[in-house]
Every structure is written in structure tokens, then in C-alpha cells.
């Protein structure tokens, strides 16, 4: 059975755990603790080590889904988890104070995953508060990383179909690159 390892990154509150729960076909391994920072992000719990889920694509392709803790004090986990990943779903919440800066920060932190397989960006909570539009995210990527081809989607991490589209775009990109030894093509999908 072919396997892929995909890492879900992004800041606290972007929807990483929710996305993995939406996608996973097994009970998700969660490492939640009560959130001491509700004055910063108003959610009851937060991931402190990792999330883990699995999904089958087709009959014989397993995708292992790992989620990072979003806070920088857990960046030792980032180093551990990125070693085993082939690609990244980068989620940023549109209602954060500066979601574009968050996207660029995590892209920089996990840049090697672009080289290894590919990256897709999912903008969440776009319906909660009017934040930057998709064009603004593309503009920022073009300005800072003109050589990278990274698709940006608006997604609801609670919606399995939407998250599956994002995941399939990334997996297809990884497989095409593996097959043809080519640069990222996810943006063309």
C-alpha cells in the first residue's frame, strides 16, 4: 500500500485539528489541553503535541495526517513532525490580526516541505470576518516567494468535501513530482 505523510500547519485557532477530524477515517489521536490563552484565542482547548488521523484515497493509498501545535513554544514538535512529512496543508484563519503574515511565517518555517512535495494554503473563517481576499494571499506569495507555485483555497475545515479537495490537490502534486521529477504543479490543478 502506498503511503503519504501530510502535515497540517498554521497558527493556533486556524482549524488544523478540526480539518484532521473532518478527514480522518480512524479515531483521531488528539493531545489537547485546556487553553490558558483565551484572551488571545478564544477556544477552550489547544493541541500541545500533535494530532494524528488517517484517510484512504482509492483502494490502496493511505494518507497519514499529522497536525502541529500552532504556538511557537511547541516548535520542537515542528522539527520532529516536519522530518517525516512529504507535503503541507497550511491553514490560516482569516479573522487573525494579520493572516498573511501568519501564512508567510509558517511557509518559511516549513519551506522544506515545498521542496519535498508541495504546499497548499487553506484560508479558514473567511465567513466570520472580512479579512484579506484570496488575491491578497497570492500577491503576498508572489512578492515574497516568486519562484513557488502554491494554490490558495478558501475552506471550511468542518467540511469534509472541501478538505478532501485540498488534500487531493496536494497528493496529486506530490505524486506527479515523484513520477516526473518536476517542480510543484499544484497551482495548475
Amino acid at each position: 500500500m502506498a503511503e503519504h505523510v501530510i502535515l497540517f500547519t498554521g497558527p493556533m485557532g486556524a482549524g488544523k485539528t478540526t480539518a484532521i477530524q473532518s478527514l480522518s477515517e480512524i479515531e483521531v489521536v488528539r493531545t489537547e489541553a485546556n487553553n490558558s490563552e483565551r484572551h488571545i484565542v478564544d477556544k477552550a482547548t489547544t493541541t500541545v503535541a500533535l494530532d494524528y488521523g488517517e484517510i484512504l484515497i482509492g483502494a490502496d493509498e493511505k494518507v497519514r495526517l499529522y497536525g502541529i501545535p500552532g504556538q511557537q513554544r511547541f516548535n520542537f514538535m515542528w522539527a520532529i513532525l516536519k522530518k517525516r512529512a512529504e507535503g503541507m496543508v497550511l491553514l490560516v484563519n482569516s479573522d487573525a490580526p494579520d493572516p498573511i503574515a501568519e501564512m508567510l511565517f509558517f511557509l518559511d518555517e516549513f519551506r522544506e516541505l515545498y521542496d519535498r512535495g508541495g504546499v497548499v494554503v487553506g484560508v479558514t473563517r473567511a465567513d466570520v470576518k472580512a479579512g484579506p481576499g484570496i488575491a491578497d494571499f497570492y500577491d503576498a506569495l508572489e512578492r515574497t516567494n516568486p519562484d513557488l507555485v502554491i494554490p490558495v483555497f478558501t475552506v471550511d475545515p468542518r467540511d469534509r468535501d472541501q478538505m478532501e479537495n485540498v488534500l487531493l490537490a496536494l497528493v496529486a502534486n506530490i505524486e506527479m513530482r515523484a513520477a516526473f521529477g518536476m517542480a510543484s504543479v499544484a497551482g495548475a490543478l
Binding site: 489521536v29 488528539r30 493531545t31 489537547e32 489541553a33 485546556n34 487553553n35 490558558s36 490563552e37 483565551r38 484572551h39 478564544d42 489547544t46 500541545v48 503535541a49 500533535l50 501545535p69 504556538q71 513554544r73 511547541f74 520542537f76 514538535m77
Partner: protein, 130 residues
């Protein structure tokens, strides 16, 4: 809105005092830290160290221990031990609190002694916060 225990001066003061007392109780204690479940440093011994990174690591270990006991259906995790050639780390939750006590002992202490000391002081911390 709830404030984290690491931001409550009375909790921090009690934690600092407890760790000093813990060291006084056993000279084999090399390092100890109290941290919140979500990885914030509350207090540490020796005090003049940067506990932020270790607090994050200890909270991740605690949560992974909980995930393993859940996966294997063996109830709640009671303590974690990491043994190495130069000492052992013993870690457990402060009963009834969103706090973890993690302690490094040198090899002069047996694992059993280290666990007993750590348990005793976790219970003392619980008593101070009750």
C-alpha cells in the same frame, strides 16, 4: 475569562516555594519545573534558568502519555518516567489542577525514591492551591 495559572502571582509564588522545599528534601534533585497543561512555565528550580522550552516539551509528553493510555484503554496516565544513563525524569499531574510537576533526579536517587518524592510534592502543591 479564565487566566492561566502561570499568570497568577499567588500560584507562581507557591510553586517557587514548593520547588525550593523539594530540593531541600532531596539533594539528588537536579532540576524541577511546574508548568501548565498547555505548556506554560510556572516555576522552576534552579530559578535562574529559562524554563519555557522545557515547559512546552513536558506538556507535550504529558499529553502524549494521556493519548497512549487512551489508545490502549488502560485508564488515566499516572506518571511518566524517562530513564537515562545520567539520571531520570519523573513527571506527573498535580491532583485536581491543570498543572504538571516534572523533576530530574541524578542516579543517586532510585526511581522509586524519585517517584515518591515527586508524588509527595505534587500533593503538597495541590494542598496549597485547594
Amino acid at each position: 475569562m479564565t487566566t492561566g495559572l502561570h499568570m497568577k502571582p499567588a500560584v507562581v509564588k507557591a510553586a517557587e516555594t514548593l520547588l525550593v522545599d523539594m530540593r531541600a528534601a532531596t539533594s539528588s534533585l537536579s532540576y524541577a519545573a511546574l508548568l501548565t497543561d498547555d505548556g506554560f512555565d510556572v516555576a522552576r528550580f534552579p530559578a535562574k534558568t529559562d524554563g519555557a522550552r522545557f515547559a512546552g516539551m513536558a506538556s507535550s509528553m504529558q499529553a502524549l502519555g494521556d493519548a497512549v493510555t487512551h489508545e490502549l484503554s488502560i485508564g488515566a496516565s499516572e506518571y511518566l518516567i524517562i530513564a537515562s544513563g545520567k539520571g531520570h525524569v519523573v513527571q506527573l499531574r498535580v491532583p485536581g489542577q491543570e498543572l504538571v510537576l516534572s523533576a530530574l533526579f541524578d542516579n543517586d536517587a532510585t526511581v522509586g525514591h524519585a517517584l515518591a518524592i515527586t508524588r509527595t510534592f505534587a500533593q503538597k502543591m495541590a494542598g496549597l492551591l485547594a
